[in-house]
C-alpha cells in the first residue's frame, strides 16, 4: 500500500497521544519533560509531512518551521531542566505530587 499523508498524520496523532498520556499520568517531573519533547516531535513530523505532500514544497516552509520549532524546543528543554534543578533544590524531590505550593 502506498504511504500517504494520512499515514503520517495518524502516526503523528498516535505519538502525540502517547506523549500526552505520559505527561498527564506519570509523576516523575523529568519524564513529564520527556513527554513534552515527544509531543513537540510529533508536531514536527506533522509539519514535515504536510510539507512533503503539500502543493508547494519548493518554498521550504516545512523544514523552516521545523527548524524554528526545534530551536524553541531546545530552549524549552534547557530552561525546563534548569527549573527542575531549581525545584529539586527547593523541594528536595522530583515527584510532581509533592510540588504543590501553588495550592496555598
Amino acid at each position: 500500500m502506498e504511504i500517504t499523508l494520512n499515514h503520517y498524520l495518524i502516526l503523528s496523532a498516535v505519538l502525540f497521544t502517547i506523549g500526552l498520556i505520559g505527561a498527564l499520568t506519570r509523576r516523575h517531573i523529568i519524564i513529564m519533560l520527556v513527554c513534552l519533547e515527544i509531543m513537540l516531535n510529533a508536531a514536527n513530523l506533522n509539519l514535515i509531512a504536510f510539507w512533503h505532500f503539500g502543493p508547494n514544497p519548493i518554498l521550504l516552509h516545512g523544514p523552516l518551521f521545523t527548524l524554528f520549532t526545534i530551536a524553541i524546543a531546545a530552549t524549552e528543554a534547557a530552561l525546563g531542566l534548569a527549573l527542575v534543578l531549581a525545584i529539586y533544590r527547593h523541594f528536595k524531590t522530583v515527584d510532581l505530587e509533592q510540588v504543590q505550593d501553588l495550592k496555598e
Binding site: L20, A23, L24, L96, E97, Q100, K103
Partner: protein
C-alpha cells in the same frame, strides 16, 4: 555595498561615520587610558574629516548633482528595507562643518577633560555622537536617518548626564531625552506615513525617492488630508515635530538650557553647533516636502519667529554664562527656521541656502562662544555666574579676544559671518511676510543687546569672584583662535568669493533690498550701542540690581524666570496628572460607598428573611441541605484548583477534546 571603491561610487561615504564608530567600539571594549583614548578618537575623527573634505570638494561646483549609493538592508516579507548614502551640496557642506568643528572640539576637550578620571568614557561617548551625527548627514533613507537621529539622542543623553553624580545633571539628561522623544515620536509617525504613501524609505533613488519630483507630485496631489494640507505637507508637519524636539523650538525648547549641565565641550559640540542643528538639517533635507505645501512653510517660519523672539527675551534676564548662550542658541535656531520657512516662501528651493548658511556660520561662532565660555569658566575657577566675573579681559587675552570675535559675529556686526547670514534671513523675511520680519528684527536687536550685556559683565570692571584668573593651556586656546578666524571671515569669504548661497541649494539665489540692509546695520550697531549705554558704566555684581531691572522690575523678573515655561508645564501637564489622580481617588471613594451600601441593603434583606420568614423551614429543611450541597460542590472545586500541575493539564486536554468534538460536529 561597495565600501572600498573610492572613485566612482559614493559607498565610501559610509566610512565617514564608520571611523568614529571603530574608535568608539575600540574605546568601549578595550578601555585604554584617557590619553590613549583621546588620541584614538581624535585620529579617527581626523580620518573622517579628510573624507568629509573630499566629499565637500566633490560637490563643489556640482551643486545640482545628487549622487547616491543604495543597497538593500533586509527583506521582511515582501518589503525591502533599503539604506543608502547620498552626496550633494547639503551633505558635503554639513559633513565638512560637523567634522571640522568636531575635531577642534575633540582637541579642546583633550585638555578640558584631562583631570577627569573617566576621560576614556567621555571620548567614547563623543565618538558615538559623531557616528550618529555624521551618519544622519550622509543617510539617504529616512529610516537610516531616524536610526542615526536616535543614536545622536542617546549620545546627547549620555553626555549631558556625564557627571551623573550631580543630581541636576542626571535630571537634565532625563529631561532632554524625554522632551526630544516627544518630537521623535512625530518624526517616527512622519517617516512611517511617508513609507506608507510612497513605498520606499529612500530619499533619492533615480527619480523614485521620496524627495524626487514624481513622488512629491503624487504626494502633493491629494488635497486636504489634515488641517487643509496635502499629504506632503502632513508628512512634513510630522517631520517638523521631530525637528522641533531636536532643535529646541518653542514648545519643546525647555531641555536645551538645562542641557548645559554637561561638560562645556559637549555644550559646544552638541547643544550649539551640531546636534541641535540636526532638526534644521532635517527640514533642509526634506525641503521638497515642505515646498510642496506653502502652508507648511508658514508654520515653520512662524514657529521659528516666536522661538527666536522668546529666547532672545529670556536671554536678557539670565546670569549664567552658559545659560545665556543656550538661550541664544535657541533663538538662533529659531532664526534658522525663519530662514528656511520665509526663504522657502520667497525663493522656493533657495530657502535651503538661507537656513543652511546661517546654520554653518552659527555653528562656528557658537562653538567658539561655548569653548570661549568654557575657557573663561576654567580660568575663573569653575564659576559660571557672570555677576561673579568681570575684568577677565586683561587676564585672559587670547580667550577674551576670541570670545569677542564670536560675540560680534553673533551680534551680526557688519562684515562678520553672522551679518551675512542673518542679512539673508531678514531679506527673505522681508519678502515673505511683514510681521515675521519685524519679529526677527527685534530678536536680532535683543541678541546684540544681551551679548553686549554679557560681555560687559564678564570683561569690564574688576574681578569679583574668588581666586585668581588664569589663561588656559594652548591646547584649549588654539582651537579658539582657529574658530575665531572662521567666525569672523567665513561669511565674507564664502559670500563674496565663492557664492555659497548658490552652492548650498543648487539654484541661483540673489536678493537685495537696501532698506533691509540699512535696518540690519541699525539693529546690530543699535543693539551693541544700547548695551554699552546701559551696562558699560553701571555697577555690576551679585549684590547689585541689574540696570534694566531698575527700570522695568516686573517684566525683568519674568525674564529671569524664563517666562515661566517650566512652570507652565508644571501647571498644565503635571496638573493633569494630579487631577487624574484626584479623580481616581474620588471614584474609588464612590465605589467604596456603593459597595458599603449594597452590603447594608443585602444584610438588611437577609435579616428580614431571617427574622420574618419561618426560621425553622430554612434552618432544618433548606439550610442544612444547601450547606451540604455547597460543601460538596466546594470539594469538586477544590479538586480543580489544587496546585497539582497535571490536574491543570488534564483540564486543558479536556478542553481541547471538547473543541475537537465541536469541530467534528459542526464541520460535518
Amino acid at each position: 555595498m561597495n565600501l572600498f571603491n573610492f572613485t566612482d561610487s559614493v559607498g565610501w561615504l559610509m566610512w565617514v561615520p564608520i571611523c568614529p564608530l571603530i574608535a568608539g567600539v575600540f574605546l568601549a571594549l578595550l578601555k585604554p587610558s584617557g590619553r590613549v583614548s583621546a588620541f584614538v578618537a581624535i585620529a579617527a575623527l581626523a580620518v573622517s574629516l579628510i573624507l568629509s573634505l573630499k566629499a565637500f570638494a566633490m560637490t563643489w561646483g556640482h551643486e545640482a548633482q545628487i549622487e547616491t549609493h543604495n543597497f538593500t538592508w533586509m527583506h521582511i516579507g515582501g518589503v525591502d528595507l533599503e539604506f543608502g548614502m547620498v552626496l550633494n551640496a547639503l551633505t558635503g557642506s554639513m559633513l565638512a562643518m560637523v567634522s571640522l568643528i568636531g575635531l577642534l572640539i575633540f582637541i579642546y576637550s583633550w585638555s578640558y577633560m584631562s583631570h577627569d578620571d573617566r576621560m576614556g568614557r567621555f571620548f567614547c561617548y563623543l565618538s558615538i555622537f559623531m557616528v550618529g551625527m555624521l551618519g544622519l548627514v550622509v543617510a539617504n533613507s529616512l529610516l537610516l536617518f531616524f536610526m542615526f537621529w536616535e543614536i545622536v539622542g542617546l549620545a546627547s543623553y549620555l553626555l549631558i548626564g556625564f557627571w551623573f553624580q550631580k543630581p541636576s545633571a542626571a535630571a537634565a539628561a532625563k529631561k532632554a531625552f524625554i522632551t526630544t522623544r516627544i518630537g521623535d515620536l512625530g518624526f517616527l509617525i512622519g517617516l512611517l506615513w511617508a513609507f506608507k504613501a510612497t513605498g520606499t524609505f529612500l530619499l533619492f533613488d533615480n527619480g523614485s525617492g521620496i524627495l524626487e519630483t514624481t513622488q512629491i507630485a503624487a504626494l502633493a496631489a491629494s488635497e486636504n488630508v489634515m488641517f487643509g494640507m496635502n499629504t506632503a505637507g502632513a508628512i512634513a508637519l510630522f517631520l517638523f515635530i521631530g525637528a522641533i524636539g531636536k532643535s529646541g523650538q518653542l514648545p519643546l525648547h525647555v531641555w536645551l538650557p538645562d542641557a548645559m549641565e554637561g561638560p562645556t565641550p559637549v555644550s559646544a559640540l552638541i547643544h550649539a553647533a551640531t546636534m541641535v542643528a540636526a532638526g534644521v538639517f532635517l527640514v533642509a533635507r526634506a525641503f521638497p516636502l515642505f515646498i510642496a505645501d506653502l502652508a507648511m512653510l508658514e508654520v515653520v517660519a512662524w514657529f521659528g519667529a516666536f522661538t527666536t523672539l522668546f529666547a532672545a527675551l529670556v536671554a536678557v534676564g539670565q546670569y549664567d554664562i552658559k545659560r545665556i548662550l543656550a538661550y541664544s542658541t535657541v533663538s538662533q535656531l529659531g532664526l534658522m527656521m525663519v530662514g528656511l520657512g520665509a526663504g522657502g516662501l520667497a525663493l522656493k528651493e533657495g530657502g535651503i541656502s538661507i537656513g543652511m548658511f546661517h546654520l554653518l556660520t552659527h555653528a562656528f561662532f557658537k562653538a567658539l562662544l561655548f569653548l570661549g565660555a568654557g575657557s573663561i569658566i576654567h580660568g575663573c575657577n569653575d564659576e559660571q555666574d557672570v555677576r561673579l566675573m568681570g575684568g577677565v579681559f586683561s587676564k585672559m587675552k587670547i580667550s577674551s579676544i576670541a570670545y569677542l570675535a564670536g560675540t560680534i559675529a553673533l551680534c551680526a556686526f557688519p562684515f562678520t559671518s553672522g551679518y551675512f547670514s542673518k542679512d539673508q534671513i531678514l531679506l527673505s523675511a522681508w519678502t515673505a511676510s511683514g510681521p515675521i520680519f519685524w519679529i526677527s528684527a527685534i530678536a536680532s536687536l535683543l541678541t546684540a543687546f544681551y551679548m553686549t550685556r554679557q560681555c560687559c559683565y564678564v570683561f569690564l570692571g574688576k574681578y569679583r569672584g574668588k581666586g585668581h584668573v588664569h589663561e588656559s593651556s594652548p591646547i584649549m586656546t588654539v582651537p579658539l583662535v582657529i574658530l575665531a578666524v572662521f567666525a569672523v571671515a567665513l561669511g565674507y569669504v564664502s559670500e563674496h568669493f565663492y557664492h555659497i548661497l548658490d552652492y548650498l541649494s543648487g539654484v541661483h539665489v540673489h536678493q537685495h533690498e537696501s532698506i533691509v540692509v540699512i535696518i540690519s546695520w541699525i539693529i546690530a550697531l543699535g543693539g551693541i550701542g544700547l548695551g554699552l549705554l546701559v551696562y558699560a558704566r553701571a555697577k555690576l555684581g551679585i549684590d547689585e540690581t541689574d540696570p534694566v531691572k531698575k527700570v522695568f522690575p516686573v517684566p525683568y523678573r519674568w525674564l529671569e524666570n524664563r517666562l515661566y515655561a517650566d512652570e507652565f508645564y508644571e501647571a498644565t501637564a503635571f496638573k493633569l496628572w494630579d487631577v487624574l489622580a484626584i479623580l481616581i481617588t474620588v471614584l474609588e471613594a464612590i465605589m467604596n460607598q456603593l459597595v458599603d451600601f449594597v452590603t447594608v441593603v443585602v444584610r438588611n434583606i437577609g435579616s428580614f428573611f431571617l427574622n420574618t420568614i419561618d426560621k425553622r423551614v430554612i434552618d432544618e429543611v433548606s439550610f442544612d441541605g444547601t450547606c451540604s450541597r455547597i460543601y460538596n460542590s466546594s470539594q469538586i472545586n477544590k479538586l480543580i484548583q489544587n496546585g497539582f500541575l497535571q490536574g491543570y493539564l488534564r483540564l486543558l486536554t479536556g478542553g481541547a477534546v471538547l473543541i475537537g468534538i465541536l469541530l467534528i460536529v459542526f464541520t460535518r
